[in-house]
């Protein structure tokens, strides 16, 4: 709890930034981009890690300590990254996220993650992540780099995405998250736009979709989508970390989301360990939207 608020953190990753884990330059660019966010948005009076302490293999105890012992977080989503095109282990391997969740089964929720372009193999892995490890949701990334080139797929693709969504429903899962906006490394920005969420939401009204990073910089489009589809939600993950460095910008973003979409549509996420959860939580609790907004 922070003050009187229960804190459910919608995303932390067990990163493996070891250089040998990256597949060449695109993977290293992805890692460096995340380090740049850590360095740029962590307030000056909070610890900023030098590259050698950030760009390393984070452990399950590291994340557990940072989230539960060093912050006011009550519950957490342990979220894998399926970037097996950029990193040998996907960057945040699902097995280690399952391990993180297993340590606190009453507090930590495991999400699964697969690459839908792998077809039957992806469907089989979904079955395993739910059946053996208790995955409660899935997280997806629309831009892949297989064979050194971008291989984008869309959330409204009946042949790639819909079988994955149908499998999730068969497994009793009704929650899907997707990275939107915020291109990292050499990602083509057009494939991080949110246009495809209409088709996903319309075709699967019984699934709930979370647009991570509120789709920045495509905020207005995301707001329109949340307004029109009751099963679309937005996560403030990483966006909340502007609260200290650019409070006016953050106020504009949060104000728009609250006014147009409502508080029930907005989800919190720390993105630990890119950012330590506590400074953003404290700053958020103390934050006031300026009257003129």
């Amino acid at each position: 709890m922070i003050d009187d608020a229960f804190v459910f953190d919608g995303v932390a990753h067990v990163f493996n930034f070891e250089k040998k884990n990256a597949f060449g330059t695109p993977g290293e660019m992805f890692s460096n981009h995340l380090y740049a966010f850590h360095n740029a948005l962590t307030p000056d009076d909070k610890p900023k890690l030098p590259p050698e302490e950030f760009l390393r293999e984070w452990t399950v105890p590291d994340i557990h300590r940072m989230v539960y012992e060093e912050s006011d977080t009550d519950m957490l989503v342990a979220m894998p990254l399926p970037l097996t095109d950029l990193y040998h282990d996907g960057l945040s391997p699902w097995e280690r996220c399952a391990d993180l969740a297993a340590r606190d089964p009453d507090r930590t929720i495991f999400w699964g993650s697969v690459n839908p372009l792998e077809g039957r193999r992806a469907l089989n892995l979904m079955e395993r992540q739910v059946g053996e490890f208790g995955a409660r949701a899935f997280k997806f990334y629309n831009v892949r780099y297989d064979y050194g080139s971008p291989y984008p797929w869309r959330m409204d693709d009946p042949q790639v995405a819909f079988p994955i969504f149908e499998k999730a429903q068969q497994l009793g899962v009704n929650l899907i998250g997707v990275h939107k906006g915020v291109p990292l490394g050499p990602q083509p920005i057009e494939h991080t736009q949110t246009w495809d969420m209409d088709g996903a939401a319309a075709n699967f009204p019984d699934l709930n979709f979370v647009i991570f990073h509120v789709g920045l910089p495509f905020l207005d489009e995301t707001c329109w989508q949340l307004i029109r589809y009751p099963n679309l939600y937005a996560s403030l993950a990483a966006t909340i970390n502007f609260v200290v460095r650019a409070p006016r910008m953050f106020a504009e973003i949060l104000g728009k989301l609250l006014f147009w979409c409502g508080e029930d549509k907005i989800v919190y996420g720390s993105e630990a360990p890119i950012f330590h959860p506590q400074w953003a939580l404290r700053a958020f609790m103390d934050f006031q939207i300026p009257q003129d907004l």
Partner: protein, 136 residues
């Protein structure tokens, strides 16, 4: 020519009228139309440009700064160019040129709207219809 704020001098309009943020290139909306240029000053041969980004997440900020600096530096009478992103002011849709405002669909500032639901009823776009079957 771009429809730009009057405070942007002619030399800066000449330099930046066809410089695009990649997010807006296909719509033909330049950095001037987007209102990204807060100020452009020339002191002797030294040019200084202040930029407002639409979002701190702009993934192209570095490339955009480089292109703007190169374009300004190539202007007659400019010997040195400095481009800086400023953070003490937030970019708003009020900075869009009329051309850009008509090409983009932004939600108005909440402070401008008295009745949210009435605004949405009047402006709500069509929703996508469910389509389970793959296209032929």
């Amino acid at each position: 020519m771009a429809d730009v704020p009057s405070e942007v001098p002619v030399w800066a309009v000449d330099a930046l009228g066809d410089v695009y943020d990649p997010c807006c290139r296909e719509k033909g909306i330049s950095v001037l139309d987007m209102g990204l240029v807060r100020s452009a000053r020339l002191d002797g041969g030294r040019a200084r440009i202040e930029l407002l980004l639409t979002t701190g997440w702009c993934p192209f900020a570095s490339a955009l700064l480089t292109e703007i600096r190169d374009r300004v530096a190539a202007q007659p009478g400019v010997t040195d160019a400095e481009v800086e992103v400023v953070w003490d002011e937030a970019w708003t849709t009020g900075r869009l040129s009329p051309k850009a405002a008509s090409a983009l669909r932004f939600l108005p500032s909440p402070a401008e709207i008295g009745d949210r639901d009435a605004y949405l009823d009047a402006h709500r776009p069509r929703t996508v219809q469910a389509r389970k079957e793959p296209p032929p």
